[in-house]
Amino acid sequence: MNPEVGEVITSALPLAPILTPLGLGLLLLLPLRRGWRVGLALASALLTLIFALLLMNATLGGVLVSELGGWKAPFGIVMAADRLGSFMSALAALCGVFTVWLMAAQPDPVRERHHSFALTSFLFAGVQLSFLTGDLFNLFVAFEVMLVASYALAVLGSTREQLREGFRYIVMNLSASALLVVACGLAYGTLGTLNFAHLAQRSAALGPNTTVTAVGVLLLIVFAAKGALFPLGFWLPGTYPAVPHATGAFFAAVLTKVGLYALIRVFTTVFGQDPQLPDTLLLVLGAVTMLYGALGALSQREWRRILSFTVVGSVGYLAFGLGLDSPDALRGSLAYLAVSVVVTLAMFLIAAVAERASGMRLVRARGFIEFLPLLAACFLLCALTVAGLPPSAGFVAKYALIRAGLEGGTVLAGIATASALISSFITLYALLRVWSSFFWGRHPQGEPVRRVRWPERLPAYLASALVVALAVFAGPLLGYARATADELGSNGYYILGVMGEGPLNLPARPKGDDVQEPEDGP
């Protein structure tokens, strides 16, 4: 391959995971037969995954930049994929494949007629765009694409629960979005640019600056709300159980992590100059959220409500890791992020099988270890992962975080670490209760055990196998996380990758008459 072609490919690659679900999602709007639709959606998800993996491989060598419209950063929008972005993109694409599979396995004619496949595809596109964009305002747009798709999917079907929870979900997220727009405006007003790398360059040139910090805190509030940190995340635990299994699995596994990703991006790459205030806030929010999620999981009696609260708890862990603000903590957070995405996916897929098999959403069917022993094994494994017990990958990641927390040495870090330990204990208790009342016990005579077909069961098993794989390959995972954390730690890397070398020449403000009649037409 000649170098020019290679260059074209590397510059095109960051867009591929976005455009694939976008374009094929448009095709899904056509009135197709179900078989075609499923095939197309699956192909789109798989293709996205392949592109994302290629991208991940390519970012090992450096930041990949795709300039949209041929305009250089910071003037045009760029897609900039570094290790972090491409890693998140691959994780999301992976979840996407499982989601589409489960959607295909659980036919839902009414929702499908109203474009659930296309909306899901757009949701993927929005998520990918959020992970790969290198522009603050475009991040807002990406969030909106993702969120509107999720709003649409959340209320698609118009059941009572969906509408009630969907209304809450939309109102709360719209408020946060309004704040995000303001923050974008303020960022532009103060720093005069929107590109992440350029913002970072300028904020680094300014040094610690309180106005910039204030803008950073605004962004923190927004992303904390999108990531469902307590007390900004009341929308989460009701919404995720209200949607169909497949959609819910993707929501739970990925959507909150987008907020967390944005936090990492903004506070490592862009506003890293005055970290004390955001760190304190993140530690406090994280410590409270972990406990809240654990208590929430304990208070619930339905499969996906319990799991939704464990999602809240995992977000708290991530915030805790970010708030510690050390390379080790960031490394732990990134590893935990990956583990959390995969295990949440697996858990929701398991819940899907369990709900279908027992015919109820409550966790009290009893005795299912006799009917679904493999599912029981998967659940146990995932429960251990969620609670952070060995031999799971969750344990490795959690240990990394706990150690970083204890190394932090401050009182707040100590309290947050204690909160992390206590909440993992409570989570364990909550999940043990699920185990004990669903898998153990004597199944009551006469209550049906429905057969769940293998296409529905297989995703749960495969996702659990992925959880195992994460544990086995925890070494490489942590290695990758370390490399990513290092890359984020030296933010010159990202800036250099996007902005290139050399100073940026801004033209003087034109007077108008000099462009009135351009001599150099095309």
């Binding site: 074209v8 510059s11 455009l19 448009l26 419209g69 041929g70 009572r160």
Partner: protein
């Protein structure tokens, strides 16, 4: 039944049988005026779309104006001036915008790389073309489709309907 046909039937049904609470004003003078106004507004909207690249206007504004005109028409005349289901515009518009970006991308250039030039014909004089205009046309289509289908959908809502017997 496909959603298109359902929508079409629903549109017709509303037109045929005015229902209580519907926004139907069956006034002959209003009808005439609205037709004339409608034509004018539509023309103006197309002009805005055309000139948008160089003067205030563009896909959004033109689209919104068209939507406004069509809604007024619908309210005044009771039926849609469009014989198409507006929802159909959305995928086409999106596809158009995406394609203008996708073509250079697939040719190995940047996504959304725009191009423009001038064609001189005897009839129109110098005539500027720009791929950005195609993009804007896509925007226009989406805005028209979305705005109209929003309004039509809300017109269609059954007033007394309760989803499930909560009360």
């Amino acid at each position: 039944m496909s959603p298109r046909r359902a929508a079409k039937r629903a549109v017709k049904a509303v037109a045929d049988r005015p229902q209580p609470g519907d926004l139907l004003i069956n006034d002959p003078i209003l009808k005439t005026i609205s037709r004339a106004a409608f034509a004018l507004v539509m023309l103006f909207a197309l002009l805005l779309l055309w000139r948008g690249h160089n003067a205030p206007g563009g896909g959004f504004i033109a689209g919104l104006m068209t939507v406004g005109a069509l809604i007024l028409h619908r309210i005044a005349n009771g039926d849609s001036a469009l014989r198409l289901d507006p929802v159909k515009f959305i995928p086409w518009g999106l596809a158009l915008s995406l394609t203008t970006g996708l073509v250079p991308y697939l040719l190995g250039r940047s996504f959304l790389k725009s191009d423009y030039g001038y064609i001189t014909t005897a009839l129109t004089g110098e005539f500027e073309w720009a791929t950005a205009l195609l993009f804007d046309l896509g925007v226009y289509l989406v805005v028209v489709g979305a705005g109209l289908s929003l309004a039509y959908a809300l017109i269609e809502v059954e007033p007394t309907e309760l989803v499930e017997g909560d009360r």
